[in-house]
């Protein structure tokens, strides 16, 4: 507290930093959210460093050894083309998690831009942007995503962009609400009175205040993006094999459900656990941010 006061005297904007520190301290207290956080760190590290230890090529086909059960050579067995499942799980996990993170970044950029502009500038900008946001919220976006992927191609980057362009509305609404709240505060007024341009005030003073809410919304957004990616990949309209993702590994699983059920179980469990962890983390962060929400 005194630290903040002191820093404010010096004219430094440390409010976000100190908030982040107490954020983390509170995270330690919330057992569910903290476990989810630790689990996510382990999964991300495992998936990205795992291939350095388990160096089997995920695309090496071995039809003679297809649908094999577990062995020393293939700890999780092989798939319908004889590819090593462990290796595909690791590389597939990389793509799935990166698609989740990537979609989140673009979602935040689009949603943050639209929400803060609408809230801060008000007037007709507000009307147009927020009406557009409502419109996007009330249409079945999954259909629009399928249309876009059919037309624009199915590269991982395109999947990221399509997910972002069909799911930025939640963040836009959150940022919009926060911006409206903060733009009435004294320090924003002071910044304006000191002659800052409205752009500068928005970027330096209003947007930083919205960051905690953005973190909560984007954590839940990653969960949503991973679910969406896996669904479109399952339908065969997402990232195409041989590039593995947890979603497209399940594409053929239904065919082999009788012979090799493990092929269908494993990627699904992985997706569920990661999405669950992101959801728990997001819910936990929201409780920390807004204690009123606790137990509600």
């Amino acid at each position: 507290m005194s630290q903040t006061a002191e820093a404010n005297v010096k004219g430094e904007n440390v409010i976000p930093t100190s908030r982040f520190r107490s954020f983390f301290r509170q995270l330690l207290k919330n057992k569910v959210a903290f476990s989810a956080f630790v689990f996510l760190v382990v999964i991300h590290v495992g998936v990205f460093l795992g291939p350095f230890i388990w160096t089997v090529n995920p695309d090496a086909v071995d039809p003679a050894n297809a649908l094999a059960s577990w062995s020393a050579e293939h700890p999780l067995g092989t798939d319908d083309l004889g590819r090593d499942v462990l290796s595909r799980m690791l590389y597939g996990g990389q793509i799935t998690l990166l698609v989740g993170l990537g979609s989140m970044i673009f979602t935040v950029l689009i949603g943050g831009l639209i929400g803060s502009a609408a809230g801060y500038f008000g007037g007709w900008i507000d009307t147009v942007l927020m009406r557009f946001t409502e419109a996007m919220l009330s249409i079945p976006n999954f259909f629009l995503a399928l249309v876009a992927l059919t037309v624009l191609g199915k590269s991982p980057m395109m999947v990221v962009l399509v997910i972002a362009f069909t799911s930025w509305m939640e963040i836009a609404r959150v940022v919009y609400g926060e911006t409206l709240k903060w733009k009435e505060t004294e320090f924003v007024e002071a910044s304006n009175a000191m002659g800052s341009s409205s752009m500068r005030t928005l970027i330096k003073h209003v947007i930083p205040q919205t960051i905690p809410s953005i973190i909560v919304a984007s954590t839940l957004g990653i969960a949503w993006a991973i679910l969406t990616e896996s669904a479109i990949s399952y339908l065969g309209l997402g990232i195409q094999p041989p590039t593995a993702t947890w979603g497209n590994m399940l594409q053929n699983a239904q065919q082999y459900i009788w012979t090799a059920p493990i092929l269908g179980v494993l990627p699904g469990v992985a997706i569920t656990l990661v999405v669950l962890a992101y959801n728990f983390l997001g819910d936990g962060l929201r409780d920390m941010l807004d204690p009123k929400h606790l137990g509600k």
Partner: protein, 312 residues
Amino acid sequence: MLQFVIKRFGQSIVLILIVTIITFFLMNLAPGGPSSMMRLDATEEERQAIAEQLGLNDPVVVRYGNWLVNAFQGDLGLSLSSGEPVMDRIMERVPYTLQLAVWTILISVIVGIILGILSAKKRNKWQDHVINFGSVIGLSVPSFWLAIMFILLFSVQLGWLPSSGVGGASLMEQFTSSLMPVIILSTATLPTIVRFTRSSMLEVVSQNFIRTSRAKGLKERVVIYSHALRNALIPVISIIGVLIPRLLSGTVIVESVFGWPGIGRLIVEAAEGRDYNLVMGVTVIVTIVVIISNFIVDIIYSKVDPRVKNVG
């Protein structure tokens, strides 16, 4: 009231136009234009002939105008893969999706409200935690994967339920074949209704008139079910409008897993076959259905809660 209805109606029309514009121009962004979406085995002459017949040589804006005029008359063009009118292909699928959607909404609303009330009454007790945990799980499991696991358990291992199809003419067969799809679809909608009912209940219970009715010495049951619930359920009506797009997105996946011949399956078939007119048609019809149902939900909401009209 009339003013509110007219305003909302106008907004709905604008929304539908926006979606048709986005979809139409997206389709025409396809490298090589929509002609590249025709069947791959089409020869150059066939391509030209089809392009001429579909008016693909006109500028995009003119084509959009023509499409819009026809669409208003219920003509969404011909399916490129089967040659049948798009409208007919969609309409033969609609009843199947409707069957799933209606059951899912009924089950989600009834079970969701019951669990929500229970969760609110037992706030921070184990029942509340279990329901809350279950809700997060329901929202986290990929529905297509859950569907595969259900097939593995109930069709492959236990042999209780058929793994795909719509079943025969008998009521029992129809019930068993739609049971798994409806349950899977509900996992995406039920948790939202539970959470919404719970927080709405807690908010109402903290209000003065509830304290008054308790102070009057009314039984807890009367307080909860006839005073609190009636007010708590009003916002729950609005959430149904939000759930309809999500439900329809869910049908795409669930219908694909269970081989259910609804419109969700149709758009995947159309996208796989690059059937430009059909994809466009399904998207537009689905959007119209969603927007009309949102419109109805809003009207009901404003009827039940007069406060909304001033804001709306």
